[in-house]
Amino acid sequence: MPYRRPTKALGRIGLLLIAATMLVACGQATPQTMLDPQSDSTRTIFNLAVLLFWLGVGVFVIVQTWLIVSVFKYRHKYNDQLPAQIHGNTKVEIAWTIVPAIIAIFIFVLTFQAIQKIEVKPSVASADEVHIQVIGHQWWWEFRYPDITTADGKVLVTANEMWIPAGKVIDLTVTSADVIHDFWIPALSGKRDALPVHETKIWFKADDVPDGEPKVYWGQCAEYCGTEHAYMKMRVVAASPNDFQTWVTEQSGPAVNADLPADFTAAGCIGCHVIRGTDAANGGQIGPDLTHFGSRMTIAAGTLDNNRDNLHRWLDSPDAVKPGNIMTQVIKDDTLSPEQLNTLTDYLISLDPGIDAKEQAAK
């Protein structure tokens, strides 16, 4: 536990108080807040923010007090004598040029330290580092684990849900398949643009969690990316290294239900989706990999909770659930017959190898 200066603690208390009032005011949990940092880098940012907040409060109080006092003290009072015509005072003015400059330099120095801290990735043993490639698509997230090989010799790929081992350095390479998106998990990591062509880097280290209690963090695309920018969400699950290993083992296996319904091909699903270990193993890669779809928490990048009813709703009419999304180009409201709908819903829901964070997410 690093030594914390009391002023910082005071700041934290202040901000937490505000956060608490906000919670009370809302009567609602705010799962995407940045006031509850859970990684090294977001904590650094939070501490900087606390400092900026109190400096801001200081400036605010000084200026507003000065303003309000002037307003009441010098308002016209039935006295038509002209006030003293003061044109200025160079000394005073130089003083209030220099003082803000000093404050600005002070802020800058702290900012500089914070930049170094969050942008320079610590060098650790390769066992303590996990590389993940984040790819933004219109309007979902793809996560590739280049160091993890699946049963059929491919790279492990998931969608909209990224599992990470807590306490290890997560080294992200962020890019985009189409327009600019932006990766953002407020509790774990500041933003990083997902740019086409370019690969941007960001890293963080999530706080430790105990075995059996993976922690779910919410995130969302933060760069306007077209029609469904609002529904381009993601979940990050920070699991203990043991749980993470279990997840890796399960996820790298083939689909738990290899009995792919013919409708998956007939309805055109295979054109965009892969299900490893089935006839759809070489399906298109336009949409999310569905190999272990049943284990995921949400449908359509955070649009719906993943359960049978919702999945049925989604497949019945993607346009009603997430208007304008790309799947609507293939699946119209009447594309799937009721039988096809049921078959596909049942099948996709069955693709659940075991460990998942649905329970934690429900908490």
Binding site: Q28, Q32, T33, F60, F108, T111, L195, H198, E223
Partner: protein, 615 residues
């Protein structure tokens, strides 16, 4: 010896020619009024768009707007407010008051001034035609980040309208800026040295220089974008090696100075209003003027602070962060000088003063959140969230719009010759003040709670419901406030008290003539002897502020239809360009017609110059 202020009063001259005279006018005051009216209409339209946004976001998972409609409306809200409301409102006041404040008879180039106005109107029309043409307004945001703007991702023609409209607006602003700069440098009354110019004139000059140097960058950007969309080039598309970041650099090299282009005139207005209603001179004239210059220069060195999230690397982050924080120094200086201007004054709380004080209070909040955004680590959390939305509305609404309201209450009596109602004015202020804070303060919290900007809806379980609802209620209060302003304006025009020449007991030259001023502005040449010519004549004794030279024959060019014809040519040209890539059969004839119209306008113009060598 006729330095009596009364001697300046011109007899009331009735304008001739009815509404048609507005089409051919080259009078900076009429053009200024057209600027103000047009921009105010666009301001109301942009406000309606804002209301639609707030209705949609008032409750979670609302279906008031489809995502497609929402995206068009927020794009047009931003574009309208920046290019069609704030900038032309500033330009309108500059047009009307810069020549008056420096004691000139008109702008340097009266005909070009008319052209600037017509191109503003036509640029706005080109953008708004997109709504009518199949409801396909631009939908990629006012920042138009490539490659979302490219044809494969933005499939409607909306962005083409956006580019073409912006090109016309760009020509308008460029011509307007050249005009303002030349007017200020060249047409100042004798004795009106640079260090005697009113601060609004100073800020107008700096703003115009910023425009001159910032506009080319976005002109190049949107030209390349237009080529991409219509002529299959690949400047911003990765396949051929194009780069989306190229757009961001071109855009923000314009986009950040643009922020100061919008706020510096507001600084100028505040620096006029505060001294008059404090009955004191501005505190530290030189500091206020030169800090504006400093802001202008620094404004060109900070554009990449809009791009911290793209991963610029630690060196660039550090540089742009430092430069951005540096800007807080001259800005802080201005605020302190304004406060010191009020200090020990004799404050008269008329409506303009309400807005000026409100401006300081609100702008400071925007400034504070601005410094926090200049710190890259914190920026990585809050950029593109509602925190940023709150920040720039505190700067542009709490700042620029408050100043513009103040400026309107201050200067409209000069323009219309009638006072606005004080009680309605104060009601107007409080409505806007409360509505503004209710709308935008909660958005800071929304951003911190993780709400990204530009999302068309949000889910019930995000915990953003209450603050969004408050924000939406606030938006309606602002709308109500704006409505009061409209009512006040109409009442004032119909039965407002006559303003007289100098209703506020002011200091600068625009108050040394009638309200409204005669076509040639002043009946005598003013020879300026001090920084507050009118004030010093009133309070320090005759001739201390200014003397008059009655042997003065200001030359005003006659009305001209050439600017309107030439601008119409460019307007038609925009539609020709619109069709050139997709249906050249249509595009080429339209372009030829457009060039013919523009050429005809130009030749008339040249002919008029030959007889009367003023542009």
């Amino acid at each position: 010896m006729a330095t009596d202020v009364q001697a300046l009063h011109a007899p009331e001259v009735k304008p001739k020619g009815g509404w048609l005279s507005w089409l051919v006018t080259v009078d900076h005051k009429k053009i200024g009024i057209m600027y103000l009216v047009t921009a105010f209409v666009f301001f109301l339209i942009g406000g309606l768009e804002a209301l639609m946004i707030r209705v949609q976001l008032g409750t979670p998972e609302n279906s008031f707007l489809t995502p497609q409609a929402y995206n068009q409306i927020f794009t047009m809200h931003g574009t309208t407010m920046v290019f069609l409301a704030i900038m032309p409102l500033n330009a309108g006041f500059m047009n009307y008051f810069v020549p008056l404040m420096i004691g000139a008879g008109d702008m340097a180039y009266p005909r070009m001034n008319a052209m600037s106005y017509w191109l503003l109107l036509f640029g706005g029309l080109v953008m708004y035609v997109s709504f009518i043409s199949g409801g396909n307004a631009p939908d990629a945001g006012w920042f138009a980040y490539a490659p979302l703007t490219e044809k494969i991702y933005s499939t409607t023609r909306g962005m083409d309208f956006w580019v073409l409209g912006l090109q016309l607006l760009g020509v308008s602003s460029l011509a307007g800026s050249v005009n303002i700069i030349v007017t200020i440098i060249r047409l100042r009354a004798p004795g009106m040295r640079f260090n005697r110019m009113p601060l609004f004139v100073w800020m107008s000059m700096i703003t115009s220089f910023l425009l001159i140097f910032a506009l080319p960058s976005i002109t190049v950007g949107i030209t390349l974008l237009f080529f991409d969309r219509n002529f299959q080039t690949n400047f911003f598309l990765p396949a051929a090696g194009g780069d989306p970041l190229l757009w961001q650099h071109l855009f923000w090299f314009f986009g950040h100075p643009e922020v100061y282009i919008m706020i510096l005139p507001a600084f100028g207005m505040i620096s006029e209003i505060l001294p008059v209603f404090s009955r004191k001179p501005i505190f530290g004239y030189e500091f206020v003027a030169y800090s504006g210059v400093a802001i202008g220069f620094l404004g060109f060195a900070v554009w990449a602070h809009h791009m911290f999230a793209t991963g610029l690397g630690t060196v660039a982050d550090t540089f742009f962060s430092a430069a951005s924080m540096l800007i807080s120094v001259p800005t802080g200086v201005k605020i302190f000088n304004w406060l010191a201007t009020m200090w020990r004054g004799d404050l008269r709380f008329k409506t303009p003063m309400y807005f000026a004080v409100g401006f300081i209070a609100m702008f400071v909040i925007g400034g504070i959140s601005g410094v926090s955004l200049a710190a890259p680590p914190f920026d990585l959390q809050v950029t593109d969230s509602y925190y940023v939305v709150a920040h720039f509305h505190y700067v542009l609404f709490g700042g620029a719009a408050f100043a513009l309201f103040g400026g309107a209450y201050y200067w409209l009596p000069k323009i219309t010759g009638r006072m606005l109602d004080e009680r309605l004015g104060k009601f107007n202020f409080w409505m806007i003040f409360l509505g503004f804070n209710l709308t935008f303060f909660p958005q800071h919290i929304l951003g911190i709670e993780g709400m990204p900007r530009r999302i068309w809806t949000y889910q019930d379980n995000q915990g953003w419901n209450l603050y969004n609802l408050l924000s939406s209620i606030g938006a309606f209060l602002i709308a109500f406030g704006a409505l009061i302003f409209v009512v006040n304006l109409i009442l004032s025009l119909r039965r407002g008290e006559p303003a007289g020449n100098d209703p506020w007991d002011a200091a600068t030259l625009e108050w040394a003539t009638t309200s409204p001023p005669p076509a040639h502005n002043f009946d005598a040449e003013i020879i300026v002897n001090s920084r507050r010519p009118l004030w010093d004549n009133k309070y320090s004794g005759e001739d201390r502020g200014m003397t008059l030279n009655h042997d003065w024959h200001p030359h005003l060019p006659p009305p001209s239809s050439a600017p309107l014809i030439f601008s119409s040519g460019l307007f038609v040209l925009a539609f020709g360009m619109f069709f050139l890539g997709s249906t050249p059969v249509l595009g080429i004839p339209i372009i030829l017609v457009a060039l013919a119209i523009a050429g005809f306008g130009m030749s008339r113009w040249v002919g008029e110059i030959a007889e009367d060598p003023v542009l």
